[in-house]
Symmetry: C2
């Protein structure tokens, strides 16, 4: 794995001529923000680029400048000479985008995931960054790109999204400093927050309502859980990604240390999301079921019925909680 | 009204010897943060102070350093020589605290509400500040107080609270710059956000569940509303302040321009909260019912049954919406 620094990442952009920009499947605010930051940088240099993806970019990101340049290519991805892959933890995250990479393709992999294996020919990876957009900020500074509202809006969006609106533990001094500078270039924090973090769909609210009926906590009040069944997903017409955040209705309860969300998925399996607040390492619980993640946010997928899986997982969490008593 | 600047506010603190710190009734994160920032400043100078309030400070703020110094005095507030009133839009907001002010009391009124009439003998009011804690930051800088984690935590809390977690339109460059600096002094953004913004009570979640049953939108999808009845409040044992934020389940819906929350209150009245996103001035709708507020957030209280009031308010909103079509 060749790790490169900021200066070499900047040289990669200066030394190549035509680019294909790729992001991970089911792109989020940081992926789209980083891709469009990259597009703005290349546009400044007058270098041709293509933004290609296997599916349309979610509607909530369409307001971002240059988002209309994304092309949906479901089949036969064109092979590219030079690729910039953004916010992809590994190359499987590229989805069909991986087909555009041949043995001869120069690939600049810009990412902030700790687990990134360095799948590019050039790897600019910094796991201490809160967002890939934070790396795009540094890159634009290194290249002395003049910032404007468009570029600043893309960078702010990535920072906002990946810090959960400046709430997660990755919210550092540098994050707030960059945010301050982006506002100086004309970013409207209210508008972006509203579009990226506040907006919910009708089906999402209906799903919240159904799931809240299942919300329970144990006798100690330290463990709470919530579930979504096949039936709820069908009745509300909610898409998978609309389940995001439901685990927080359990986790955020006053007094709760561990919140769990269970969801019936295809193939007789249950997807489990685990969140903790202060002292339980939920990645150890997930690992017991061949899952993974971090100490405060982890997940796994377990074969079995909803009731069966709930019993097994909750018992293990309770054992961890009593061990800490 | 005597408006004073930063330097004179600093002199007020230097020139007086013993202080009573007051905040508004039903204190929020900015009020408590500002009061405790003030306490830290006075503590640095070794000047005696009392933090007094007519009711206990809400539990979620108890983690703030020096919060244990708050004294609850329900009756016979002691008359003070020198008062610092924080985050009080007017003197009625002081509640019983006003009893500690006599004709001879020196009152430094530090606030950021546009409508502040300047009720102090000294008024350090800046409506361009996002939070009173932003003024406390400037004051501490002016006084050259050495910042530490405790003081920084109080200031960060106020900024976080009054900007809705760096989301509202008052989230300026200066706000993010101060936040960055506070993190430098050891503030843990994750911990504070979790305590101040994320935590919900069991009764609050039960109330959300009940209210979501009432969530409706009109045929255009631009107007949505939600309601809480006496019965729901009783069944869930939710307190009045736990209704905060319910209006957002209507307002945040994709496609919605105006969200309305109706709540049955004592005396056969309905409390109405109105929120808009982009172009409807809801303060005009509230004003039609003798209420008030801002263009994007307003409210009123109307006599009548829930159904009757809902019909009247929703008709007026719909008229405003059709006029803009």
């Amino acid at each position: 794995v060749t790790e490169i620094g900021l200066q070499q990442a900047a040289s990669f952009i200066q030394d190549h001529d035509a680019f294909t920009i790729l992001v991970h499947v089911r792109p989020d605010g940081d992926a789209v923000g980083a891709a469009l930051s990259c597009a703005h940088i290349l546009q400044y240099y007058g270098k041709p680029f293509r933004l290609i993806h296997e599916a349309p970019i979610p509607g909530k990101y369409q307001f971002l400048p240059l988002c209309d340049r994304f092309e949906v290519i479901e089949q036969n991805m064109p092979i590219a000479d030079t690729v910039i892959a953004l916010d992809c933890g590994d190359d499987r995250q590229l989805g069909k985008g991986i087909e555009s990479i041949s043995d001869k393709t120069h690939v600049l992999n810009i990412d902030h995931h700790r687990t990134n294996p360095g799948f590019g020919t050039h790897n600019f990876v910094d796991a201490t960054a809160a967002a890939t957009c934070q790396l795009m900020y540094r890159l634009a500074k290194q290249l002395q790109i003049p910032f404007n509202k468009d570029l600043a809006t893309c960078i702010y969006t990535g920072l906002l999204f990946d810090t959960g609106g400046f709430r997660y533990s990755n919210t550092t001094e540098e994050v707030h400093k960059i945010a301050a500078e982006m506002i100086q270039y004309g970013v409207e924090p209210y508008d972006i927050s509203d579009r990226i973090l506040e907006t919910v769909t009708w089906s999402q609210v209906q799903l919240i309502k159904c799931c809240l009926d299942t919300l329970k906590r144990d006798a100690t009040g330290k463990l709470a859980w919530i579930a979504a069944t096949h039936d709820m997903m069908e009745r509300t017409q909610a898409r998978d990604e609309e389940c995001e955040g439901l685990v927080n209705y359990a986790r955020n309860l006053e007094g709760v240390e561990v919140g769990v969300f269970f969801r019936e998925v295809v193939g007789g399996k249950i997807k489990v999301s685990l969140r903790s607040k202060y002292y339980i390492d939920v990645s150890r619980i997930a690992a017991a079921f061949q899952g993974g993640g971090h100490a405060r946010a982890a997940g796994c997928t377990i074969e079995g019925t909803l009731n069966d899986v709930m019993t097994r997982v909750l018992q293990l969490v309770q054992r961890q909680l009593s061990a800490k008593d």
